[in-house]
C-alpha cells in the first residue's frame, strides 16, 4: 500500500475508536500485527514496560484472554454493562518509525459509564502503524493517561 497521509491515519484511528466503543474486541485486536503490543504505562514518561509496572501491557494472546473474559457469562465485573464514548483528535504524524512504519500521535477523551457511575479518561495515544497490503496495522499502541499515576478503580475494557 502507498504511504498513507494524515487524513488516512485519522480515519483509521476514528474507526479503531468506534470498534472499541462497540465492544468489538476481536475485530479491534485484529487491527494489531501478529507481534503487536498494547501498552498503558502506570507513570508519565515511563520508558520501560518490563522493569516497571503498567496499567496494561498486553500482546495479542493476552488481549484475546481479556476479550474472552469480557464475553464470559460469569464475568461479574461486567454484569452491569460498560458503555463508552471516545473522541479522537489532534492527530499528528510525528515522523516515520523503523522500517517505514508510521508514528502517529493523537489525543482522546473517553467517557465510561457503568452501573450509574461515570468517569472520564483522557490522554495521548502513540500508534506505531505498519502499512500492509490489508491496510494499516498497529505494531504498538501506547496510551498515556493524563492521570496514569493517580489512584484508579478497575479498568476492565481496553482504552
Amino acid at each position: 500500500m502507498s504511504t498513507p497521509g494524515r487524513a488516512e491515519v485519522e480515519q483509521f484511528l476514528i474507526e479503531e475508536a468506534a470498534l472499541l466503543d462497540r465492544g468489538a474486541w476481536e475485530a479491534w485486536i485484529a487491527l494489531f500485527t501478529v507481534d503487536g503490543w498494547y501498552w498503558v504505562p502506570a507513570s508519565p514518561a515511563q520508558s520501560d514496560p518490563f522493569d516497571h509496572v503498567s496499567l496494561f501491557f498486553e500482546n495479542r494472546p493476552l488481549m484475546l484472554m481479556r476479550a474472552e473474559r469480557l464475553r464470559h457469562p460469569r464475568a461479574h465485573g461486567v454484569a452491569a454493562p460498560i458503555r463508552t464514548s471516545r473522541v479522537v483528535g489532534n492527530v499528528q504524524l510525528v515522523g516515520g518509525g523503523d522500517g517505514g512504519d508510521i508514528l502517529a500521535r493523537s489525543r482522546f477523551h473517553m467517557t465510561e459509564v457503568q452501573d450509574n457511575r461515570q468517569r472520564v479518561l483522557a490522554g495521548t495515544c502513540i500508534h506505531r502503524l505498519a502499512a500492509t497490503d490489508e491496510g494499516l496495522r498497529i505494531r504498538v499502541k501506547r496510551v498515556d493517561l493524563v492521570n496514569a499515576d493517580t489512584p484508579h478503580e478497575a479498568m476492565q475494557v481496553f482504552i
Binding site: 502506570a42 509496572v53 499515576d149
Partner: protein, 429 residues
C-alpha cells in the same frame, strides 16, 4: 456513642459471626481508625526508598500524613507531615531529597530529625510566651524497622515491632532470604488502587480458597486457553497465573493456612514459582553461592502465596509483592501495591514479578476485576437487615506450634482477624 470510652462495640463480633453494622457504620469506622489503626504497627515504607541522608518518602497512616526520612545520623525516622506552626503539610508529593525541611507557608525550617531549625523574624515571638522547644515537627510515637521494612505505631504503648509481627515475620524473612545479595529494594513503581468496600471485606478474601472457582470463572478458562497458545515464556507465565484460580475444592482444601496472634495469617503457595528458564536456573545458582544448596532448597521450598499482617499490610513472598491497605471511609479503601526487587538476582526475576503485578494487581487485572465487583456487592448488600449477623463458621482449625492450622476452605483466618478486631476494639482509646 462516646468514641473514647464506649467498648460495647466489641460485642458486635462473636466467635464465628460478625454484625453487619461493622462494615457500614461511619461511627464504627472512626473507632476502628482510633483503636485498631491507631494502635497496630502499620507499614510505612521500605528503607531502600530512602538510601541517603535527606532522602524522604511520604505516606499515610490511619489517614494521617507522615514522612519517612533518613537523618544525618543514618537513622530512618517517621515524622508527622504537618508544620507545628499552622499545620500545613511540610513535604508534598511522593518523596525526594532535602537538606532540611521547609514549610512553604511561613518558611519555618526543620532538621531531618524534625527539630526546629529556623523561623523567619523569630524575634517577633519575643515576650509572647512562644516556646521554641515545643516547635519541632512531631515524631510518630514509635517507629522501627524489620529487615528493611519500616513500620510505625501511632500509639506510644503496646508490643514492640518484633512481638507484634510474631511468627508471621517468617514471611518477611523468606522474602529477604530469597535475594541472592540478601537485600531487597522497592523498584518498578506502584499501583495505587481504590475499592468501594470496607477494608475488612478485602481482608476476609485474602486466603479464601472457596471463592476462586466461583468468582474467577470468567478468567481462569481464558487463562488456560492463553497459556496453551502462548508462544513466549512471559505470556505463558501471565496466563498460568490467571489459570491457577481454576483449582477445585479438593486442591484448595489441601492448601494450608496458618493463623497467628494479633490477626496475622499466611497461606501456602498455589501458583508455580519455579521455572525451567535459564534466568531462573541462574538465579538459583546465585542464591546457592550465598546460602549453599541445602539452605537454598529450604528458602525456595517455603512457598507461601500470601501473608497478612493485620490490619494494614499483605505480602506475596514468592513474587515479591507488597500491598498496603489504607481505609479511607467505611465504604472506601485504598490499596497500594509495590514490587520488591531482589538484589543480585538476574533482571528477568524482577521482570517476572512485575508481570505478576501487572496480571493480578493492576487496576486492569482480569482476575481482580471480579473480586472488586464482589466486594462492592458485599458492601451494597450488607446494609440490608441492619441488625443481622454474617457467618464465619466454615471449617475448623487445629492448634499448631506457632499458630492455628487450617486450610484455604476454612474461615479460621477470618475468625482470627475478628478475634484481633475484638481485642483492639474492646479497649478504651
Amino acid at each position: 456513642m462516646d468514641v473514647r470510652t464506649d467498648t460495647s462495640v466489641a460485642a458486635l463480633v462473636e466467635d464465628g459471626r460478625a454484625n453487619r453494622r461493622i462494615y457500614a457504620d461511619p461511627a464504627i469506622f472512626e473507632l476502628e481508625m482510633r483503636r485498631i489503626f491507631g494502635r497496630a504497627w502499620l507499614y510505612v515504607g521500605h528503607e531502600s526508598q530512602v538510601p541517603k541522608a535527606g532522602d524522604y518518602a511520604t505516606a499515610t497512616l490511619a489517614r494521617q500524613p507522615v514522612i519517612m526520612v533518613r537523618g544525618a545520623d543514618g537513622a530512618v525516622r517517621v515524622l508527622f507531615n504537618s508544620c507545628p506552626h499552622r499545620g500545613a503539610l511540610v513535604a508534598t508529593g511522593r518523596g525526594g531529597h532535602v537538606e532540611s525541611f521547609r514549610c512553604d507557608y511561613h518558611g519555618w525550617t526543620f532538621r531531618l530529625d524534625g527539630a526546629l531549625q529556623s523561623i523567619p523574624r523569630e524575634g517577633d515571638y519575643a515576650g509572647t510566651g512562644f516556646d521554641r522547644a515545643c516547635a519541632d515537627m512531631r515524631l510518630v510515637p514509635r517507629a522501627d524497622s524489620y529487615r528493611g521494612f519500616v513500620f510505625a505505631s501511632l500509639a506510644a504503648d503496646g508490643p514492640d515491632l518484633a512481638a507484634f509481627l510474631g511468627p508471621a515475620a517468617a514471611n518477611l524473612d523468606n522474602m529477604v532470604d530469597r535475594a541472592p545479595d540478601g537485600e531487597l529494594e522497592i523498584a518498578g513503581g506502584c499501583f495505587e488502587t481504590l475499592q468501594r468496600n470496607n477494608w475488612k471485606i478485602y481482608l476476609e478474601n485474602l486466603h479464601d480458597g472457596a471463592h476462586a472457582m466461583i468468582v474467577h470463572q470468567s478468567s481462569f478458562g481464558p487463562g488456560k486457553a492463553a497459556a496453551s497458545a502462548a508462544a513466549d515464556p512471559l505470556t505463558r507465565f501471565r496466563a498460568e497465573v490467571v489459570a491457577a484460580n481454576s483449582q477445585n475444592y479438593e486442591q484448595m482444601g489441601a492448601l494450608e493456612v496458618t493463623s497467628y496472634a494479633r490477626g496475622h495469617s499466611d497461606m501456602r503457595g498455589f501458583r508455580r514459582a519455579a521455572s525451567d528458564e535459564p534466568y531462573y536456573l541462574d538465579y538459583v545458582a546465585k542464591l546457592e553461592e550465598r546460602l549453599g544448596k541445602e539452605r537454598t532448597e529450604a528458602v525456595l521450598g517455603t512457598q507461601r502465596h500470601n501473608a497478612m499482617f493485620y490490619p494494614g499490610m499483605s505480602v506475596h513472598p514468592v513474587f515479591m509483592q507488597l500491598r498496603v491497605i489504607q481505609p479511607l471511609a467505611a465504604d472506601l479503601t485504598r490499596v497500594d501495591i509495590w514490587v520488591l526487587r531482589m538484589k543480585g538476582a538476574p533482571a528477568w526475576m524482577h521482570r517476572r514479578n512485575v508481570a505478576f503485578a501487572n496480571t493480578v494487581h493492576s487496576p486492569s487485572s482480569i482476575v481482580k476485576a471480579d473480586d472488586l465487583e464482589i466486594y462492592t456487592r458485599v458492601q451494597r448488600g450488607v446494609v440490608a437487615e441492619g441488625e443481622g449477623w454474617l457467618d464465619q463458621r466454615r471449617g475448623t482449625e487445629a492448634a499448631g506450634a506457632d499458630g492455628a492450622r487450617s486450610t484455604a476452605l476454612s474461615e479460621a483466618f477470618i475468625r482470627n482477624q475478628y478475634r484481633a478486631w475484638r481485642d483492639y476494639m474492646a479497649a478504651e482509646a
